[in-house]
Symmetry: C3
Subunit: 488 residues, 3 copies
């Protein structure tokens, strides 16, 4: 029999005595709460609203009563724990020991630790709050739950039924009881295994976007590098060598030549690890050897890198569209017109320049449109509604199309400039040439993998074939782990 599902929802004698449907009207189930702070207050409010009978245990019931909803019964700690099978402990860790006098009454009951350590406490204590509670009450069953929910969300209720509550305990039945309790309060319980995970669960509310740290630093680093590079080429060189003041370019123009480089490099870094993984599999002749750690991490952060690439691309679009709004653009235009008149040129038209610009604008917009589709399908609610084939089509196929379109956009932007000596300011090559290296390698590698000799071997490997072994019983490639290598 599998899983939590085969646990009785209550101890058996209760089934017999209390609840025979539509015969004996049962009383609402009882829950005890120890503590009188904000979170205790929010828990009480939410539990009362979800149809529970709530007993709040306080050392000073009279003073505390006013803070709790009328339907919650505020009483002494002894009375509050006497009847309910489930007791929520909403106190600071340092007050846990004050409950030791209740040890006998708590025997055989479920104690739910809902606390969060502060960042400092988390570093200071090696043992999680929940494990500490369990060590104080060895005859009770301790469950860690609800700590990831803020008092505010707890009180007002989750807006949709999708708020997750990680739950862990050494006692599967107790975990199941609290899971159902969470569900009836409107949350989605998530099984986190045994109480040993409590430290990890307590660390969750202390996290600050851990998946984004490396990608964000990467993007920032790239931006700083390209900004400095472009500053040297576009502002410093004219100032030093031609004594021209172009410092007004700092806020918009230099930013707008740096942003697309960051976006383009980041986009290529989304597709590079997949190529490396495929090459590694080809070389090793098996998919059953683990990738090196750095590659594994890289593969897992592709979504974040891709979204940052999209963000930079979107800013690049906005900055570019703002160019004609600038006063400097207006002055340049007027001065050009005046120059034409003075030079007595009645018609200005450089066909090549016109074509270059029309094409690279169009390619840029198409690349951005494709990237937007990728970004939209990264939204959790949309990703959830796609099957694997669809998700992979969008992220892998459309993503590669976006990469090719961006490369063409960059190449058209560059045109022949890479070959003109005048473009090498301070001997530095034009910025766009720097960014083309990785994407072109990826496109070449992908093209190579399409050759029958490689593609056949690769698909054999991904279906379980090994160079030095025989075919295993594996499921079709559409479900295979190896494919994690080919989506964002």
């Amino acid at each position: 029999m599998p899983g939590e599902m085969d646990k009785p929802l209550i101890s058996h004698h209760l089934v017999d005595s209390n609840y025979s449907l539509a015969e004996v009207p049962s009383e609402a189930p009882k829950v005890g709460i120890l503590g009188s702070g904000d979170f205790a207050h929010s828990l009480a409010t939410r539990l009362v609203g979800s149809g529970f009978c709530v007993l709040v245990g306080s050392r000073n019931p009279k003073r505390t009563a006013g803070l709790f909803p009328a339907a919650a019964q505020v009483t002494s700690q002894e009375e509050a724990v006497a009847c309910p099978e489930v007791i929520l402990v909403a106190m600071f860790r340092e007050h846990y020991s004050s409950l030791c006098s209740l040890r006998d009454q708590l025997t055989g009951k479920i104690l739910v630790d809902v606390s969060n350590p502060t960042e400092q406490e988390h570093l200071q204590y090696h043992q999680s709050n929940a494990e500490y509670l369990a060590s104080l009450f060895p005859t009770s069953t301790v469950v860690k739950a609800f700590n990831v929910i803020s008092a505010w969300t707890m009180q007002s209720g989750p807006r949709d039924g999708n708020r997750q509550v990680p739950i862990c305990s050494n006692h599967p039945e107790a975990k199941h009881t609290i899971s159902l309790m969470a569900r009836s309060m409107g949350f989605t319980p998530v099984d986190m295994g045994s109480l040993a995970s409590a430290r990890e669960v307590e660390a969750m509310p202390l996290r600050l976007l851990p998946d984004w740290k490396v990608p964000a630093l990467l993007a920032l680093g790239l931006f700083v590098f390209f900004y400095a590079y472009n500053f040297t080429r576009d502002v410093l060189q004219p100032y030093v060598q031609e004594n021209k003041n172009k410092f007004y370019k700092l806020p918009v123009s230099v930013v707008n030549t740096s942003l697309p480089c960051v976006a383009f490099v980041l986009l290529s870094l989304v597709y590079l690890p997949g190529v490396l993984a495929a090459a590694l599999q080809l070389q090793r002749g098996t998919k059953y050897r683990r990738f090196p750690d750095w590659l594994d991490h890289w593969l897992q952060h592709r979504k974040q890198i891709g979204l940052l690439s999209f963000f930079c691309a979107a800013l690049h679009v906005l900055y570019s569209l703002c160019l004609p709004l600038r006063r400097s653009h207006r002055y340049d235009l007027v001065n050009l017109a005046v120059k034409q008149v003075l030079a007595n040129n009645s018609h200005l038209w450089v066909e090549e320049e016109v074509w270059r610009m029309e094409i690279y604008i169009s390619l840029g917009l198409l690349a951005f449109g494709t990237l937007s589709l990728l970004a939209v399908t990264s939204l959790p609610s949309i990703a959830n509604s796609l099957n694997w084939k669809e998700f992979s089509f969008v992220q892998s196929t459309l993503g590669f199309v976006a990469l090719v379109l961006s490369t063409l956009h960059t190449l058209t932007y560059g045109w022949t400039r890479a070959f003109e000596e005048s473009r090498y300011k301070f001997y530095l090559p034009p910025t766009f040439t720097l960014t083309l290296l990785v994407p072109c390698t990826i496109i070449l590698a992908k093209a190579l993998f399409f050759l029958p000799c490689f593609s056949r071997r690769l698909s054999k490997i991904r279906r379980g074939w090994e160079k030095d072994g025989d075919v295993k019983f594996t499921l079709p490639a559409s479900q295979a782990l190896a494919q994690k290598t080919s989506h964002v």
Copy 2:
């Protein structure tokens, strides 16, 4: 014992007799439906699809049968209610009394009221449909459910498992039974408490974006005010005092000077209540006294105000980017060039103007980029995947950064104009000066709260300290209710 989880899923004798896993193949569970309208039809379709055995009770079974799925058994009302424990009543309120002849047969069964009153009926009757049904059938158990689902969604099934169904009843077991039924039909049940909530549940489908009404009216009011103000300054004044026809500015130019004002004021109104709340807590020396109602409502509508601010900002960006597309822009440019030629000026360049524009465009785009991140994290599916610290970081920290960037954007736009007499048309100050008042106050107040004397006291208060009392047992600040004051 907590919650709904300690209810047996069925009355006990059924466990014994019917279902011994893998021994006796059980029949599909039976549900009765009274009514033959659209919703009855959709319910039947969905229930059959979810593996239920459906009996439809009709007063004219032969005529009705054709409308229902073949798997549903259309029969007389008496027969339809004889066997199932759960009967769905899908009829108009005015026909409830026609069922009174079935009262004996319905004794001890669960009647589910799925009806919605019309807006008119809702005002007319003080008693909800479900309570009225309960008063007619005192020996049955009445549950209110499924009314928020449209016939269309009911029939086709929810696209994802996230559609909520509020359920209320005075009988926890019956509520639990219907919750599981809802879940097996693919919906997410939400416990709304006792049948007294039925009126509220019945009002839900009559609501039209109640959270958006005040913020939308506020945004509209601000827009009308600023449009009138800018019309007076930019169109009326030149017409009256200089006899210049600038009416062509009405569709784009005046709109585009009004939109950013609305966006900016709305954004500052998102952060003002948090500052007021903190000031109030500092003054009172406690967080345990409720805020005045207006402040509470304001705090709860910050998300909507913030999103409207983002919408206006996005429109402002689009309108601004369209400026160079206009014919008037083209004419102005050409005329300026001609004027330069006639005046024999070969080079036009005003360094200060260039810098002002480059800086304020860049600041504006950065502010808009930051606002976009805020807007994206307001999407339910993304907000759900963030912990409180992350949500607060994005909404509070990034939001404040956006406010500061917008303020700088406005200040650079204004430059020295606030001090030039010629800008005071009809003695009216330039528009941007009006909008700067609130944001600057907020930024100053926030800076003040960072001073040690205030910040220490505030953090003490938020951990439960009181001026006239002793420290309570509270949970860490990261879970504290008081923090509802610091996020959008």
Copy 3:
């Protein structure tokens, strides 16, 4: 008793013997896995993480053991199936028969088929993998489940609790057991009925955005048509008749006159079927006759058509905003200025042109802003948080406003050009006139339906009235199926 909810969660003797809460610490529930490929590996990892005791049956346990998590017990096939009630079969279809020797041991147990056929296999075999498995093991209970989950998602766990797992079986209890198992693994089970649906469930991972195929082809077809049409008018005609080289218009200009046409026609195609349906209902005098199939399909694809319309509109906005960035725009401006100087015109201003452009830009932006709101409310997580009235208000009312605004935008763009002979290049009318036909018809029809004679009859019909019958018992219009005709 309704639905799955009245199934005992386990067979009864287990309740008695094993689980008396807080007395006997129960062992973790056992699950067997047959197979040693990627998916078996991922299943084991996930099940161990969700608190199950996993037994993996392999024909070569020693070789296989290294691939599985340490907590999973890798053993012989016989041992793996001996104890657990639930056995997951993670093998290729062609190896199913190799399990026949285990038939006796598998009697009375639940076999879960988790396999996916390849596209080729799906076409080749008429019988689903699960039905084939059931035919091989007639004494076991076969359930189809988990096949839609990729090995990667299975292993890492769903990021939110919203990943759906369709489940089908001829045995409701077994289906319920596996549903709970899926839920405890963090997935959302969806009941797909009997095992006859297995073929459909197995086809799910093979689907590639089926709802988008027709709308995408439609959009592509429209784009090709309009591109060819505009190419003929804007590039070919000047080349043939005036010998002017305008080929530089291909990448941006011609695309940007085609995109808005596609967007506009698609938007009108979203609202046309609703009008047709209403007309059909009026003519038939009933809503109880089914619409023709083509209309039904059309009604169901409005969301996709609408989103494609939004995508084209967004691209049109971007392309339009890029126009002043082009080199050709700059040359045109400068040349115009030079021309003005040479013609000695000191002031260029055409009031009508200025007004036309200001108005149509403003209308276009408002239409686009409204469309964006429609697109945002199409996101699953937002649509889920709206009630029917709100969803219908946004999609139907706001959508119609967007259609009217787009029509006005097009009309202002056209101005008087439809009546100027010079605009009929090659006798082809200006593009915008082609696109106006459908939207204008829709707006007229909608206006007509507002006339009391029609609107009364229509609302009577939608409440269940029939021309040749009497009123049925129906629920209020807000829940009526007929209204599926009036939302996107």
